[in-house]
Amino acid sequence: MRLILLLCFPMVLASQTVTVPTPPKLPPPTGFRVMIVPDMEGMGSAVDIHEVIAGNEGEQYRTLTSDDYWNRFRGLLTQEVNAVIVGARSAGAGSFVVNEGHGGNLFANVLPWDLDTAAILVRGFPKPLIMITGIDSSVGTLIFTGAHASAGMPGILSHNFAFDAFTVNGTKLNEVGINALIASEYGVAVSMVSGDDVLIRETREILGPDFVGVTTKYAVGRMAAITFSPARVRRMLEDSGQVAVARARRSAFKPYRLSKPYRVEFTLRRSYPETIVQGVDSLRWRGLEKTGDRAYRLTTSDARQMGYLLDAIERVVLH
């Protein structure tokens, strides 16, 4: 325990010296730009943590991997993203940004050599606005694949970043909701989400009924599901990608809005060791109030500020 503490502090100090990042701009789009954020928990066939973890993400993840599974699912993940791109392209999209949304292998899951060659792939860790790095107003529409329900929900591998609870203005947000709110700062809307039945239902409650939802599987446990074949899921993703982009090009989707200023409230996971809580406290994040044992509040009028705080917390957790 003591050893972990000692290792933890230099990292925390280092992260304090990082200023709010201003990433280089991506090249201008050569056509209607689609940003795809692939996560893994909600992808077709995946049910178990060993299938989505590489084992190098930190001490607590070392035994949660199984090489045969991990490698197989990276391949399937890449093919899912390709299917979305094929569908989007057939609806007239001309530019694709794929931003790794899954922390396994520290945000390096998609196989670059097997990914559609038209795509720009954002990978690695840390990266600013972690799940939607590179977003700006050049993005025409935002697509989340393989997403999972939030912590405490009866969905496959359900969780929500590092939190047991996360609300903005009292509205419970899952990871898709959090990123949709950040994207709205750029006027970008979500057109499509794929994941298990619990995630789709939950996201409709947050974003409303408009987005194209793809149910990749039906959860019958937190690590068990009724699944469809990878080929069938790819077909669904391709078809839905086409529908979503066609509608997005007609501006059928509205950015996700909540009233400002945003009152962001969250509780760090109870399962984390105390060192993680100390790490978050040591960030001395401007405007972050501690409202309970593991509970915090941030009030801001810019959802990006919430995103940068999430980045800092992910860096405390993923080391």
């Binding site: 077709g44 066939s45 049910v47 178990d48 060993h50 299938e51 199984s66 090489d67 045969d68 599974y69 197989r72 399937l76 009866p154 496959i156 039945d197 039906y218 959860a219 019958v220 446990g221 937190r222 690590m223 068990a224 599901a225 009724i226 699944t227 469809f228 074949s229 990878p230 080929a231 069938r232």
Partner: protein, 336 residues
């Protein structure tokens, strides 16, 4: 200061403590999502079933002990990360290929839809290869899941097949066993795992029409259920040795048997297993389990001690409830 020094000195002494008792998780099954929610699983699968006039859905339970050529539990039934060996990966392929052979045969006879339920605990019910399985099949995988070997069973199904099945506990079959039991009976009828699935399906009006495994399994399952289709994949020589037919030969046999099974169900020749209610269940936990496991089982609701320390009786009007009970017991012995 002195206290710190004492602590530091004490830390340098070798610890003379008795070995710690193994950490055991006595979380009740209801506290972990996915163990007891069989109604929910059924409600999620049932709407996906083909209900068209010519629709015929086959539910295939995939186990591994009875696969062609499989003989050795230690290396073939579980992966290295769960204490097994590299050969497991080869047998995952074999499981998937044998399942595909059944699907191909059933399709030839007019079956239109296939639900595959991964029924082998070696990788916690993640053995079938999703990207090698027939792409039209629905695959239920992962653990814990409700009524683990017959998750989501519902009356919209038309037939149940079990592939790679193994003979009952106490028999000379290859890797013979039955869930966590040394014996399991309903109304005095001895049932193996295939028989338990047939009992569950039977109540819903769905017959178990085909079983494959070693010669002990095929003979005993026919003795329990009557003349269903069987494919004998190997002749058991001991619990870990056998004379096996070529996998290619077994695939051809499975394909032909699956087609026959579908036709025999369509013609009404193969009927669901119906037993008289209330069901009187009796079972004895495996002798190899230590008293902690038996104590956890004893604490489950509705069980009566019957005929020994590890033997219990249970009365129910519902095969699904009995399946749920078995699943709670499986959770006790399987959870980490």
């Amino acid at each position: 200061m002195i206290a710190t020094l004492v602590v530091a000195l004490a830390a340098q002494q070798p610890q003379q403590q008795p070995p710690a008792a193994p950490l055991r998780d006595s979380t009740p099954p209801e506290a972990y999502y996915g163990v007891t929610e069989w109604r929910e699983a059924r409600a999620k699968l049932e709407p996906l079933m083909d209900r068209s006039a010519r629709g015929f859905t086959v539910y295939i339970i995939g186990d591994m002990e009875g696969l062609a050529a499989a003989v050795r539990n230690a290396t073939e039934m579980r992966p290295p990360t769960r204490g097994g060996g590299q050969d497991h990966e080869r047998f995952r392929v074999e499981l998937t290929d044998e399942t595909n052979a059944l699907i191909a045969g059933a399709r030839e006879a007019g079956a239109t839809q296939f639900v595959v339920n991964d029924g082998h605990g070696g990788t916690l019910f993640r053995n079938t290869l999703p990207d090698r399985l027939d792409p039209e099949a629905i695959l239920i995988r992962g653990y814990p899941k409700p009524i683990v070997m017959s998750t989501g069973l519902n009356p919209q199904l038309d037939a149940i097949f079990i592939v790679g099945a193994h003979a009952n506990a106490g028999t000379p079959g290859i890797i013979s066993h039955s869930f966590a039991f040394d014996s399991f009976t309903v109304n005095g009828r001895m049932l193996n795992e295939a028989g338990i699935a047939a009992f569950h399906g039977g109540e819903l009006g769905v017959p178990l029409a085909l079983a494959s495994g070693d010669h002990v399994l095929t003979a005993e399952t026919r003795a329990m259920l009557g003349p269903i289709e069987v494919v004998t994949t190997k002749l058991a020589m001991s619990r870990s040795a056998g004379a096996g037919f070529s996998p290619a030969h077994v695939h051809a046999e499975l394909r032909a048997a699956a087609a026959r099974a579908v036709r025999r169900v369509q013609s009404g020749e193969l009927k669901p297993l119906r037993l008289a209610k209330p069901y009187q269940v009796r079972f004895c936990m495996r002798r190899s389990y230590d008293p902690w496991f038996v104590g956890q089982v004893r604490a489950l609701q509705g069980l009566r001690q019957d005929g020994g320390e590890r033997c219990f009786a249970y009365t129910s009007q519902s095969a699904e409830e009995i399946g749920d009970l078995l699943n709670r017991i499986e959770w006790i012995v399987l959870k980490p």
